[in-house]
Assembly symmetry: C2
Amino acid sequence: MKTYLDCIPCFFKQALFAARAAVDDEAIIKEVLDRVGMLVSKIPLESSPPETGKEVYKTVREVTGVDDPFKGLKEESIDKALALYPSLKEIVTKAKDPLETAVRLAIAGNVIDFGANPDFELEKDIQKVLHQERAINHYQAFKDKLASARRILYVGDNAGETVFDKILIEAMGRPVIFAARERPIINDATTEDAIRSGLGEVATVISSGSDAPGTVLEGCSDDFLDLFKGADLIISKGQGNYETLSTEKGPIFYLLKAKCPVIAKDLGVEVGHTVIKHGSSPI
Amino acid sequence: MKTYLDCIPCFFKQALFAARAAVDDEAIIKEVLDRVGMLVSKIPLESSPPETGKEVYKTVREVTGVDDPFKGLKEESIDKALALYPSLKEIVTKAKDPLETAVRLAIAGNVIDFGANPDFELEKDIQKVLHQERAINHYQAFKDKLASARRILYVGDNAGETVFDKILIEAMGRPVIFAARERPIINDATTEDAIRSGLGEVATVISSGSDAPGTVLEGCSDDFLDLFKGADLIISKGQGNYETLSTEKGPIFYLLKAKCPVIAKDLGVEVGHTVIKHGSSPI
């Protein structure tokens, strides 16, 4: 997905939120915004938003000197999600179609986001997503694909959401490779966060090599690219992965909640809608 | 009022909205944002937001070549408000305290705003403001001051809102000088807009000399400054005037709706709250 003009004010909102998570000093935070201001003219609209996001968050790190401003928030999100795990498992177990319910929960977990949408309400949203009709619903195609898939790659998104991913992977009941980010960026899950969420028990956890808040294939490791090209089912979670992988035509399914107007517009849905979309299908 | 860090993302949002009102060409709009990006490091947080706003909108004009992107929207707002005028007059005439109701309507008119809050719903908001309790209510002090005031200066805000100002000035029943902006900026009322709204029939319409979306005293004309210093009652409408005049200690009353979190915080109220605040009173 390209960068829309509306993404630019949002980069400043995100830089401000991240800088405030890192430091209290107003002068330092202002310097972050000054530096992000200098970046604007260098943003090519043809690139995806996470490619710029990578530079924005790098600026936050460099100016504040704080490498991982969201470390505490990430741990908190994982702990909260782990506390919910037993009740979520019960919802899946009791469901008529456990896989379908697990897909819903995996999408609900995508609400945990300190980038585009820091004002989320997790438990309220879980209930909503469990009962909401999906705006794009390629679940049947996903189920069919899963039945025959042998090489399954699951591209994770945020820390905490990872616990919900675990539930889906368990419901899938198949060997899965779970790819996390190479380094901390916003509240995206690293391999460490994935392991802390219990994903090591149900999947092979690897790094994609991406240090952007998404999966910029040019920045990924060769190992990941091999897995990506060889997979017969790819699950792409969340906005950042959609933004960077939306032009891929492989056996990829995007599971996400459209949390910002730009992505909603790109998908042809409304903000707040949930989606399971097959990459090679027209919308 | 100082510029808060949260104002910076908002400057980009406003620049984008204004540039889109001016032109369709994405490359030109991107150039506006690039240029606003270069401005960020030059924004002193000690200055008021309209001082930066002035530079932002100047950039929009320079890059797009469109001097008044909101001309059509302003005319539309005035026409809409003029169409409401008879029913608004009736509300005032039938009210127990016509002056108090006219104050409410003048504040309701402040919802017309293409800067901080372009998604307004005028008629819905009028009803709300008519019945809503004011978060800061120095109406009695205003009424007392009005009883003895001889030199009344009314500092206007947006085009369309001016029709609501006319209603308040009529209810005040006193000679009033109405000050509008020196040149078009956002949808702020110029003298031309004020006259078009019918204010010439009930007040002496002048320009403040300000070319910012507020009243930056350093940029105002000597004539306006004489009136400002000599007034025994000043009515300051809207956010932009509050942002630039909030440190004044004279006989000034701010009538506004807090439409953004930054101003709400500065006033100690919630977003959406309405206010009639005496300048020399603590909140």
